[in-house]
């Protein structure tokens, strides 16, 4: 299967701190790939390097065959990104914000507005499309966050802790939608989280980061069998304690 994301000894250091330590992995197209690790494990830094938000110190990475440093703009044109924490412009109506993000992808105003309206309706926010984002709840804001990540019709979607702060029902809808994106539209999803239940419910392949290093990568069931783990929690604890 063609690789959507390839990391080859990708490294990021900040002075003496090694945030990401020679990470190599491969994510096949059309997968929902679980990218796990505790806070500070290096997941966010890895995603930021893939999206050109920070430069790697060493190694290389490619998204859909394009180098993330040399061809960063093209990579970003093919990707959607929902950061772990972000603010939205409080004074701006939801639809205007999506149209603005659409303009960043070079969409005309009419096209960006049409896509934005479609996404807001998909996420049951059609009725509040003209309302300022400052009045949105956490769940509504997260839906707008996902909508902005999808407005460029990405082939690769980077989701960084996307379900944190969502109630159980919101989380269920969110995960169902992510699964649908991969299955029905062939979108590759790099799903970064430390909520192990989320990974178990939608990912077949996973990678686990610990203190900047990749300590496991492969099929979820195969890893469980290899480590004789009954649950995702057992697998994660076994791997992390083994790496400590």
């Amino acid at each position: 299967m063609t690789a959507a994301i390839e990391l080859d000894n990708l490294t990021k250091t900040y002075g003496d701190l090694i945030a990401v330590d020679r990470v190599s992995l491969r994510v096949a197209e059309g997968q929902v790939f679980g990218f796990m690790g505790h806070n500070g494990a290096g997941k966010t830094t890895t995603i930021r390097m893939l999206l050109g938000l920070t430069r790697p110190t060493g190694g290389s990475a490619r998204v859909l065959g394009r180098d993330v440093v040399a061809d960063s703009l093209a990579v970003r044109g093919l990707c959607g990104f929902l950061p772990a924490s972000y603010g939205l412009p409080r004074d701006m109506p939801a639809l205007d914000f999506l149209a603005y993000v659409g303009a960043m992808f070079g969409l005309s105003r009419a096209e960006a507005t049409a896509r934005g309206r479609g996404l807001l309706e998909l996420f049951d926010l059609g009725a509040v499309a003209g309302k300022a984002l400052g009045g949105f709840s956490t769940g509504m804001a997260q839906k707008v966050g996902l909508a902005q990540a999808l407005i460029g019709r990405p082939r690769v979607l980077f989701l960084d802790e996307p379900t944190s702060g969502l109630d159980p029902l919101g989380r269920h809808h969110f995960l169902t939608h992510i699964r649908g994106l991969a299955r029905e539209q062939g979108v590759t999803v790099l799903f970064s989280t430390h909520i192990l239940g989320d990974v178990e419910s939608i990912c077949e392949q996973v990678a686990i980061m610990h203190h900047g290093r990749l300590i496991a990568c492969g099929g979820l069931q195969a890893l469980k069998a290899e480590h004789r783990a009954a649950t995702m929690d057992d697998l994660y604890l076994d791997l992390v304690q083994g790496a400590a």
Partner: protein
């Protein structure tokens, strides 16, 4: 640069509370200018007569009050209000990683924000001139609309420096409030030293690098304005703006979102 993005930024800026405050300041300046003319400070009236040698000293004095006492101070404040938080505002809200992960260069993003601030600034100052064009013929004896518009237009080119400088300082200085204070101080210094070439003609050439000097310099030629009188300051001002924009573009590339 994306026209659609600039349009979105302009609409967002027009909706912002600080822009409503700016509109209030503009109206205050327009309404206040004739009152200043009714009883100008004696040293200002004497200096304007001595410097400009105009056939109608009262009209020259009015234009001086309009450009310096009203528009220059207004421009300094508006520039900081509209552009003093460029990029840093989005950074403090945590919006930059989301926006800079899109297919747009940081330089282009900065230029879009700067262009939007410059457009809104021009709308405000241009609006002030247009309101003045309606009101002043009733309030100012001997009001001449053409010189008024020319001086206001050249002043706008100079005043845009307030936007350019504020935006560039916002990129160079990470703390937003500190950056805004630095910009305001620098702009007030420039506004205050705009007449150095009049006080001492030997320094007139050096004063030309001060963007706030040119509209007032034009008043010295108010009775015989030519195209060259208008193009000279505009060419200088475009050069100054370009240098500062280039500094901002170079600096924005180094910001970590």
């Amino acid at each position: 640069m994306s026209a659609a993005m600039v349009g979105h930024e302009v609409r967002a800026l027009l909706r912002a509370r600080r822009t409503r405050l700016a509109i209030g300041i503009v109206l205050y300046a327009v309404v206040g200018a004739p009152f200043l003319l009714a009883k100008p400070p004696p040293h200002v009236a004497a200096a304007a007569t001595e410097w400009f040698h105009a056939s109608d000293p009262a009209f020259a004095l009015f234009l001086f009050i309009w450009t310096d006492l009203a528009l220059n101070k207004l421009a300094a404040v508006l520039g900081v209000v509209l552009a003093g938080g460029i990029v840093r505002e989005e950074q403090s809200r945590g919006l930059l990683p989301l926006l800079w992960a899109k297919p747009i260069t940081r330089a282009r993003y900065f230029l879009v924000k700067l262009a939007a601030a410059a457009i809104v600034f021009s709308m405000l100052l241009g609006g002030a001139a247009l309101i003045g064009l309606v009101l002043f013929p009733w309030q100012i004896a001997g009001f001449r609309p053409v010189p008024f518009l020319i001086v206001s237009g050249v002043h706008l080119f100079g005043a845009l420096f307030a936007v350019v400088l504020s935006a560039t300082v916002a990129i160079l200085v990470p703390r937003r409030l500190t950056a805004m204070l630095i910009s305001l101080m620098l702009l007030m210094l420039l506004v205050g030293s705009a007449f150095i070439g009049f006080y001492n003609p030997a320094w007139a050439d050096y004063a030309a690098i001060n963007p706030f000097y040119h509209a007032v310099w034009l008043l010295g030629h108010i009775d015989g304005l030519t195209v060259a009188h208008v193009l000279r300051p505009i060419a200088i001002l475009l050069g100054v703006h370009t240098v500062f924009i280039a500094i901002g573009v170079a600096a924005v590339r180094r910001i970590e979102p």
